[in-house]
Amino acid sequence: MGLTNQSTGIGTLKEMFELDIKSSDGIVLALAGNPNTGKTTIFNSLTGLNQHTGNWPGKTVTNAQGNYSYLNQKYVLVDLPGTYSLLANSVEEQVARDFICFGNPNVTIVVADAICLERNLNLVLQVMEISNNVILCVNLMDEARRKKINIDLEKLSALLGIPVVGTSARSGEGLVELKEIIRKVAYGEINPKPINVKYNKIIEDYIKEMEPTIQENFDDKVKSRWIALHLIDSYHPVSEFHIDNANIQLINNNLLKVKSNILQSKFESEYLSTEKFNDLIVSNIVEHAEYISNQVVSINNKTYNNFDRKIDNILTSKILGIPVMIALLGFIFWLTIEGANYPSKLLSYFFTSLELKLSDILIWIKVPLWLHDMLVLGIFRTLGWVVSVMLPPMAIFFPLFTLLEDLGYLPRIAFNLDYYFKKACAHGKQALTMCMGFGCNAAGVIGCRIIDSPRERLIATITNNFVPCNGRFPTLIALATIFIAGDRENYISIIAALTILFAIITSVFITLIISKLLSVTVLKGLPSSFTLELPPYRKPQIGKIIVHSIFDRSLFVLGRAVSVAAPAGLIIWFLANITIGEISLITYIAQILNPFASLIGLDGYILLSFILGLPANEIVIPILIMSYMSTGSIMELSNLEEMKLLFVENGWTWLTAVCVMIFSLNHWPCGTTLWTIKKETQSWKWTFISFLLPTIVGIILCFIVAQGVPLIMN
């Protein structure tokens, strides 16, 4: 079925990574590092860009590029995906390795986590084998100090032979020094002389025999020692992984291939198998990292992570782990619903008064009545509704969710849920991409790149839409509040929160069931191996979280909603005002849809709203409201109570609300998500399946509920 790396991921990543960097653009810097070391924070601080950060490995899956100027010189900074190593063969590692090798960066900066320097040195040593111009940036120095971990940076620099800078990117500490060192290395004022890992004699002998041939054939862009080492690698000969690269065409170099093959068989027969040879290479690097780490790191407080362990023992415990997780999520929903009430009313009041003023002005400048109606009643009212209903919950929900992310809770969720994902033959990291889906399904789909296995990546991609994105949360919240919680005065927020919690848990279940279904049918296979890092908990930066989640996320989503809602408002206005015979066009279409819609507990207008809402889920309810107002626009709809009245007038019962919620959770992905799926999978087939699957699930579930509940009730 064409399920190759090329079609499902690497191709896309490579495409993303064809950075058009010309030397005239400035000095090119590559930013490498283990996942979750604050690499993105460094990138943001240097470039002033706002890449989203979070305390969990694999956050940066796309490669960002940014610029900064220092002493009148322009620098182009490329943020590579986080990797533990350059030796294994995941998509991220290939991309990072290829860029360091063949992207010709002037300087490569490796960001390391001060708290687990030893593990990070593994990558540092590997990068040093490829290139000379390497700078080590030991980040999170503040966290290290808090945990009483001392690092002798000078000694580290001496042992590695490259410049070392200590930073705490979140507070800006050390960044100026970093820029200065980068400048010096880029201008050749400092010439790093990386000290090589001393390998076992067998390996050193091999390198010695290979090096001259390599040097004859290549320029010195990539070190011959490194090429020699990896020619023998059984998993990914160097010749394979840059087959497209025009600069160095190892694959065409038969001389080299032959020589390496001869040597390889010689070593295999005389000493050891290729596998052992490779083990030796990695072991030597790890041992060297351990040796350096022992020389420079001193831990004054051996129990520094006891506190983390205590928290973990609660958050992942057999009895409390999952209940705490559910309770936490429920609490966030409750806080969102309870807290959004008042600001929502305030905003709606504000927009109503603004609308009157706008109307006055338009009448005063004598615009035609139809234009006035279209602008004020068609566009402005929809906008006002979208903003006042959506902004407050988002402004509360996003910072809270980001807080969990920043603390490092998401990997624990993945840890707690992994067993179930394994049962579904899916990848453990799918829990992480699912969490990203809560923010935005399109982002969740892109996030699926953290999954190496193409099969499991496709499963995660196709099922991502089963968790509600924030475009659907407002719909769920509004319906849960007015129909499910209804008149139970004092408990409205609690009941609404519980309803949404139930919806979320259901959506996770559906995700698992569908994943399993895919695994035993079209995407057969066993779960692949995976390792998940549980990073130390970090002190969240509350101020930054609030600013970033409100400005970057809430306003982004809102902007999208508004930009889609405005033209949609216009279309609805037209549909409602163009008449065929006696009835408006919108009623005409709704009547066509009605027989089918009724079967699944909806009505023609609702189904039409979902169809028209394809560009963005945010606008389904606004469209529905506009459609119901057969006069062509939202009346004085300033709060949820009136929305309920309107819906009830149109024949809604609580059962209708339940069906709408189910359908909202399970229907086709929005246009952006579909487009992203197409881009990621490079396949219309999988895009179509991603469209069809949730739609079928939604129709079946709605049918069962709509037809089954009345039977039981009677």
Binding site: Y84, S85, L87, A88, N89, I115, C116, E118, R119, N122, Y235, E275, N278, D279, V282, S283, V286, E287, A289, E290, D308, R309, D312, N313, T316, S317, K318, I319, G321, I322, F415, N416, D418, Y419, Y420, K422, G428, P527, S529, F530, T531, L532, E533, L534, P535, P536
Partner: protein, 79 residues
């Protein structure tokens, strides 16, 4: 083969072991080595997830969760 060796997943939580052998092949083997699981590395079993699998281990100052499939391919000597 040494009889004192047990697969890592059988190491009781809270106790430590010394890595003696990897039976994994190919990419998984490489991944495990990359995590620093070379000969004689000390590994501590920290906690199991609510369903008993995966288990979190401390490896060279980092906490890594491994599924039973991977952990069973790491043979350790209990210490």
């Amino acid at each position: 083969m040494n009889n004192n060796l047990i697969p890592l997943n059988q190491l009781p939580t809270g106790s430590s072991g010394r890595v003696k052998m990897l039976t994994a092949k190919g990419l998984i083997r490489r991944r495990l080595l990359d995590l620093g699981l070379i000969n004689n590395t000390i590994i501590t079993s920290l906690m199991r997830s609510p369903s008993g699998d995966p288990t979190a281990y401390e490896i060279r100052g980092t906490v890594i969760a491994l599924r039973i499939e991977e952990a069973s391919k790491i043979l350790v000597e209990s210490i």
